[in-house]
Subunit: 216 residues, 2 copies
DNA sequence: TGTACATCAGTGAACGCGCGTTCACTGATGTAC
DNA sequence: TGTACATCAGTGAACGCGCGTTCACTGATGTAC
């Protein structure tokens, strides 16, 4: 249902595999180049799929990346957060909550960096990708995090806690993406920072900005 | 001298104007589209310059954006910081210093957002652009800022002040760019935030992360 | 001041390559009776 | 269980458009004597 508007869903197992091969091929090729730089023919060769077969499923090349995005989002939704998880999260301290979320964020960005880079670059010029992103599971998780953090409102020292939490999340997400996804090309050579350290520092920044002082 | 390697500098006033027209044309077209999306012919039509004239100056299309970058960087170097300015900056409080720098940053990003967006997108896939950026005046200003901040080392509460300052700058620059340059498309609709407010909050985040407590 | 020549600057029709896409076709799978 | 037909799925040669670039040329400016 959240798949591309003009994309016909496969009816047979055979074509479902072809689709999977296409998306896999694209994902692997994205490691080296932008979506724009990769030609259809190249994707098709990698996936061992013929041109006609592709255009039977997708209206244009541009429909392919959104489809990959959807698959990823579905995957995220698959590991649905249970009621139990939510209860558990609610019982955590603000520090614990932050540590867990930021830890996951860094880990995920690291694992899927190529894919995230491609989507981020593509979204900058394709509005439909942006709206897709806004309805994504990822965004939903951010909202969940925000409300969980706001349950510790008494420890937040900022004139407008709601706004502050939103900006704090924006801040760590932007920084994390810039660092992990974009600033680690061989040419960038900005300061080195292990993921462990990055996580710790982002946590520190998050809590400090919200004006949270350690409990003694 | 810092102009593109294979780019021939103009010898006559006439061609210097042509060059300027080309760069102006590109800069204005970047407001709506990516560099990749803009064709040479379009730039030439806008600048009222012929194809041959362009290729007499530039080896390829890709040499044009770096040239625009250089012009901008030269402009920055033009308004050189005098000894007096430095003295003055040194006499400011940490809060004053931060306010000034972040204020300028937000203002500049706002003014030149299209151009910055183009460069950021292009740099992601063209290494030569990255090295250019690293030797830029902008980077140099960041380093200057870092060392000025470190003169207030006694007010910084972080196990590794040097590293912390570097990351703090990275943090505010990344966030500012993400917000001003990328997150304000009509489709993005993330939370609204005036430049004034953004500046204030980034300042708060910067100082809080460094563990600076207000002087009483 | 004038003439000859070299260099700089500019012109735009034409080229050719690469890419996304089309199309006429064959083969595989599912369904009805 | 077998046959007929509809639909789904896959094939790859060929097309054509748009783009960056070339090239043979004309005109303007600077320099030497």
């Amino acid at each position: 249902m959240p798949s591309s508007p003009a994309t016909k869903p496969p009816r047979q197992a055979r074509s479902r595999q072809t689709l999977a091969r296409l998306l896999d091929a694209l994902e692997s090729l994205l490691a080296d180049r932008t979506f724009e730089e990769i030609s259809i023919h190249e994707i098709l060769r990698t996936a061992q799929v013929s041109v006609g077969s592709f255009y039977a499923r997708f209206p244009t090349k541009d429909a392919l990346l959104p489809a990959l995005y959807d698959r990823w989002d579905q995957e995220l939704r698959g590991r649905a957060v249970t009621k139990k998880d939510q209860e558990e999260a609610r019982s955590l301290s603000l520090e614990g909550l932050t540590a867990r979320f930021i830890g996951n964020m860094v880990k995920n960005q690291r694992r899927r960096r190529w894919f995230i880079r491609a989507v981020a670059l593509h979204a900058r010029q394709h509005p439909q990708m942006i709206t897709r992103e806004q309805r994504s599971k990822r965004r939903q998780l951010h909202r969940q995090w925000a409300s969980l953090v706001l349950e510790h409102r008494d420890r937040i020292n900022h004139p407008d806690p709601e706004e502050a939490v939103a900006l704090a999340i924006f801040l760590v997400v932007s920084t994390c993406r810039e660092k992990v996804v974009f600033s680690e090309s061989p040419h960038a050579s900005s300061f080195r920072l292990s993921d462990r350290k990055l996580t710790a520092e982002l946590q520190r920044a998050f809590l400090a900005y919200l004006g949270v002082t350690p409990r003694q």
